[in-house]
């Protein structure tokens, strides 16, 4: 096998619980899967802290990336019957699907918030930098690595190709909805992907869906809606996420103050200082995070020690529903009481909002920045999905925002010290919930 863009002599398959089999026929794809940067994704969970809520959610970005590749492979196979592709564009699609998440780090949502980094930027650097992935892609010649990076960044000239991997209904979302539903064990993430792929039709800027397949698309939208509220936005998962972020904030602050760590976070130093190299980034994975969190359970600093124990032993914060317009009236008093009770409100009193999530659900709107889903009508015209579907229309206009206030109830219930302040805090928090 000499040609890197050639077919393998024998097809390789991966068993997969979601798609049954993942088929690899191209040498390029097989070689990309074997790179160390792609193998690293085995050590990064797809759903971050969700495993603390749904114990089955231990699947990784490796599984998901293979799944997105497989859906893209099927899409390309279907679309090839209806359109002609430029040279290499089939492989650009497949490689982009496989590599779209390669820049994700461990618990990347929290890391990105605290350190102001961007996994998409790391994806680009891994694809274009001095890496095994770049070496494999470069064998294709020309600007192949740049084309793959551009598709993932949504700046590739061919919008149809971009839309297959990143749009309101794309290979990425279809895989993560099905996969996350499977591994969390929830029953409401299912939809008929085969049917959706069969009714997909290529247009200049995006793929559209034959009107006859509308009900399969409706199911997909319902799945997205249900998974958003029931899994991605689960309050317990968010509690773990809040604690994780606070651990990182605390470590960052202590380091800036010159605190003498028993276990210095040397793997994060360059991240704290915004000087992290590509090689250092590639070496970061969840095992390193857990190593530090476990070591920090013995630190002198009481806040860092407590937060790490909470995260590792799943002693999470409790929450109450929060209406910001009412919360603002009691916020200064809550902060004062927390401080008076010896509990630092910067780490133990947190509002988490729906806008803090990296997931969304379908919003129609012809003039929005995001291309809506279009149906191909029998007369050849296009109609936005919610204008044809009562189901989609019904869930599109509903309240979509939510805020929760997180706090350590166990500390507040232990009233041996500062009993008066703690009782007052609990009373204010529960009044807030009843408002």
């Amino acid at each position: 096998m000499n040609r890197p863009d050639g077919q393998l002599e024998e097809e390789k398959v991966f068993k997969d619980p979601v798609h049954r089999y993942i088929h690899v026929r191209d040498q390029l794809i097989w070689d990309l899967i074997g790179t160390r940067e792609f193998q690293r994704l085995r050590r990064i969970r797809q759903l971050g802290t969700t495993y603390l809520t749904f114990h089955g959610a231990e699947h990784t970005r490796f599984n998901h990336s293979l799944g997105v590749y497989e859906i893209m492979r099927r899409m390309v196979e279907n679309l090839e019957k209806k359109m002609t592709w430029e040279t290499d564009e089939r492989l650009v699609c497949l490689a982009a699907a496989l590599l779209h998440d390669v820049g994700h780090g461990p618990f990347s949502h929290s890391f990105e918030k605290v350190f102001d980094t961007d996994h998409e930027e790391w994806t680009r650097r891994i694809i274009l930098g001095n890496t095994e992935i770049n070496e494999v892609l470069s064998r294709m010649g020309g600007n192949f690595p740049e084309h793959v990076a551009d598709v993932i960044a949504k700046t590739y000239e061919n919008k149809l190709i971009v839309s297959l991997i990143s749009s309101q209904i794309d290979a990425d979302r279809m895989d993560y909805l099905l996969r996350d539903a499977f591994y969390t064990g929830v029953s409401y993430g299912q939809f008929d992907m085969e049917r959706i792929l069969r009714v997909m039709r290529p247009m200049e800027d995006q793929a559209v869906f034959k009107h006859s397949g509308m009900h399969a698309v409706e199911d997909y939208i319902m799945s997205r809606y249900q998974m958003y509220w029931q899994v991605y936005f689960h309050p317990v998962t968010r509690s773990a996420e809040v604690i994780l972020s606070k651990i990182l904030h605390r470590a960052k602050k202590l380091l800036a103050e010159g605190y003498d760590f028993q276990q210095t976070p040397k793997h994060f130093l360059s991240l704290f200082e915004s000087t992290m190299t590509l090689e250092e980034y590639i070496r970061l994975d969840e095992s390193i995070i857990f190593y530090y969190f476990q070591a920090w359970e013995q630190e002198e600093d009481a806040i860092l020690r407590d937060l790490c124990r909470r995260f590792m032993d799943r002693r999470l914060f409790k929450y109450v529903e929060c209406d910001p317009s009412k919360q603002m009236l009691i916020w200064p008093e809550l902060q004062r009481l927390f401080t008076a009770a010896g509990i630092d409100p910067d780490y133990y009193l947190v509002i988490d909002s729906s806008s803090d999530l990296p997931y969304d659900f379908y919003r129609p709107g012809e003039k929005d920045e995001r291309m809506p889903i279009h149906l191909l009508m029998p007369d050849g015209s296009l109609r936005e999905l919610s204008r044809e579907s009562d189901v989609v229309e019904a869930i599109s206009g509903k309240k979509r925002t939510d805020h929760k206030l997180y706090f350590p109830e166990d500390l507040l219930l232990d009233q041996k010290e500062y009993g008066e302040e703690k009782r007052r805090i609990l009373s204010l928090l529960h009044e807030q919930e009843g408002m």
Partner: protein, 167 residues
């Protein structure tokens, strides 16, 4: 408490009102590129850099009655007009952002430009790590429908330079 929301409210308070969702998106992106402390994450979309996080935050503030959103019919589509509401003013008071957190002069200046021009400026900024000629080529390909002229693109470059020099 909700500091990122408070920064957006400061923006609206400082500018009076912002007309158009797209314009607001581009104003925040450009301000962020000018090192203003907005934290919303952006990706490249149909009209250039776009933040889903910003869209959701605005929606949250509409539902909390912190901002007023007026939907107006304009030609074949709807346009949205945003301004801070009384409850939003009260919230800003409660949060007490440090003085000068948001650069009002910069934001007012951005607000004076058209949404179409800010779309071009934000797209240039999105690709600014590329050589100038390559940026022009990308705009030609990705923004073909907006039909930006060579002069428009040069004006965007000058505008960015003047923003950087004066803020």
């Amino acid at each position: 408490m909700l500091h990122e929301h408070a920064k957006l409210l400061s923006l609206l308070k400082g500018t009076g009102e912002v007309v158009g969702r797209k314009k607001l998106q581009k104003m925040v992106y450009i301000a962020k590129k000018m090192n203003e402390p907005f934290r919303e994450k952006y990706q490249f979309h149909m009209y250039g850099p776009y933040s889903e996080e910003l869209t959701l935050r605005m929606e949250e503030m509409c539902q909390a009655d912190f901002i007023g959103e007026v939907r107006e019919k304009k030609g074949g589509y709807y346009q949205y007009r945003y301004e801070i509401a009384d409850k939003g003013e009260e919230f800003l008071e409660a949060v007490r952002l440090p003085e000068g957190t948001v650069n009002e002069n910069l934001l007012r200046r951005l607000n004076e430009s058209s949404s179409k021009f800010l779309e071009l400026v934000s797209t240039v900024l999105y690709f600014e790590h590329f050589p100038k000629e390559e940026i022009k080529a990308k705009i030609g390909k990705l923004k073909a429908r907006q039909n930006y002229s060579e002069e428009d693109i040069e004006e965007a470059f000058s505008y960015i330079e003047s923003l950087r020099n004066s803020h």
